[in-house]
């Protein structure tokens, strides 16, 4: 997973491939790299996501808790319609701001 920092206050994690419970080390490592000093918003780019199962959703909940502890917001973009529905079904959308594009997500994070 690639990490980009388009502004001082926001980082983007480009998620690629599968997200399952086996992805924990990779995702948490990316979170560690994305979560530098001054970062108040983490933006997850799901444009490269191939597949996610319930273990992957569990990982995102854990990531959310870690981010909230650091007083960081989580936003997302690039979700297919299918995974948008999964976010709604699992009520992850209560805590993760979902946007259509990177530009919109960064604007919502106040990082444009």
């Amino acid at each position: 997973m690639e990490v980009r920092q388009p502004s001082e206050s926001a980082s983007i994690i480009d998620i690629a491939g599968d997200v399952t419970s086996a992805s924990e080390d990779v995702l948490m490592n990316a979170y560690g790299r994305a979560s530098g000093a001054g970062v108040t918003s983490l933006v997850l780019n799901f444009g490269g996501l191939d597949y996610m199962n319930s273990g992957g959703i569990g990982l995102l909940v854990t990531l959310l808790v870690r981010a909230q502890r650091q007083r960081q917001r989580i936003l997302a973009f690039g979700l297919s319609d299918h995974y948008r529905q999964i976010f709604e079904l699992t009520r992850l959308d209560d805590a993760v701001g979902i946007h259509d594009t990177e530009h919109e997500a960064l604007a919502a994070a106040g990082a444009n």
């Binding site: 990779v26 996501l49 569990g58 079904l89």
Partner: protein, 283 residues
């Protein structure tokens, strides 16, 4: 696994395969979406706003499921826990996919006595709702349920509705490891409300651990294997979400107690022929 683990050769092969797939797809559909759709088509439940119980089995009570929303750990009140229960069964006795197939098919049989899982008629399949009668300390009976959130050949996940003792989900999975088949139940949860949080602190956690340990012991025993369950408990978040304290309004414990207390009155009303039973039980 994740994409960064791929070699250049794998990436090239994937690009070639994508090109072949692309030729057969309608315009606007990417190979990734096609792959995702194929793998996900039958694994995830369809999106629903509230739960509906198609059939109420004989003896089940549907007072805390119908019309409720699902609740993830985000919507729960208490500390957040990840609990993992694991047994290893010799690989020659069962493969991971066969174990999951059997676990899905005979899920209620492995539950400890005194608790009933009323499996949907169509079995453990995505979107199905199951009703549960659980035994609590003090002889109290709790009526609740779960929805099958996800199910494939290697795992299945049950998610809880509002008012359940915890907000979250349980994933049952199996993998092959070092010649063994590992069966695992993993709970990701927060107590739904302050009353359940107190109950968990006063022995509820231990009772829950025993519940899943007994379940996995019974599963291993089915394959003629006696084994101790490996239990790992991690507190993911020690903070309680006080803004969710009002979840107590949906508490299945309170509603189940009131339903039980109202049984004589319902019986009397039925006897006098003044109306139907107040709840939705078939009992």
């Amino acid at each position: 696994m994740s994409a960064e683990g791929r070699t250049e050769a794998e990436a090239t092969a994937r690009a070639d395969a994508d090109e072949e797939i692309r030729e057969e797809l309608p315009s606007g559909v990417s190979p990734g979406e096609a792959r995702e759709g194929a793998r996900d088509a039958t694994s995830w439940a369809k999106n629903v706003s509230t739960l509906e119980v198609a059939d109420v089995p004989e003896g089940a009570v549907n007072i805390n499921v119908e019309g409720k929303r699902l609740a993830s750990p985000i919507q729960g009140f208490g500390k957040m826990w990840q609990k993992t229960y694991r047994v290893r069964i010799p690989g020659e006795r069962v493969s991971p996919t066969d174990l999951i197939a059997l676990w899905k098919e005979r899920f209620p049989e492995f539950w400890p006595e005194g608790n009933r899982f009323h499996a949907p008629l169509t079995g453990i399949s995505p979107g199905e709702v199951a009703l549960i009668n659980a035994a609590l300390p003090g002889g109290m009976k709790l009526s609740t349920g779960v929805m099958v959130l996800y199910a494939d050949e290697e795992s299945f996940t049950l998610m809880t509705p509002q008012g359940h003792m915890f907000a979250g989900w349980i994933t049952f999975s199996s993998i092959a490891r070092e010649g063994d088949t590992v069966a695992q139940a993993q709970v990701l949860m927060r107590a739904s409300d302050p009353i359940f949080e107190l109950g968990l602190a006063l022995g509820g956690h231990r009772q829950e651990d025993r519940f899943w340990e007994q379940t996995l012991t019974a599963l291993a025993a089915h394959y003629g294997h006696e084994v101790e369950v490996d239990t790992q408990v991690v507190c993911v978040d020690r903070k309680r979400q006080w803004r969710r304290a009002s979840n107590v309004w949906h508490s299945s414990a309170i509603r189940s107690t009131m339903y039980t207390a109202g049984a004589p009155l319902r019986w009397l009303r039925q006897k006098l022929g003044r109306g139907s039973a107040g709840g939705k039980s078939t009992a």
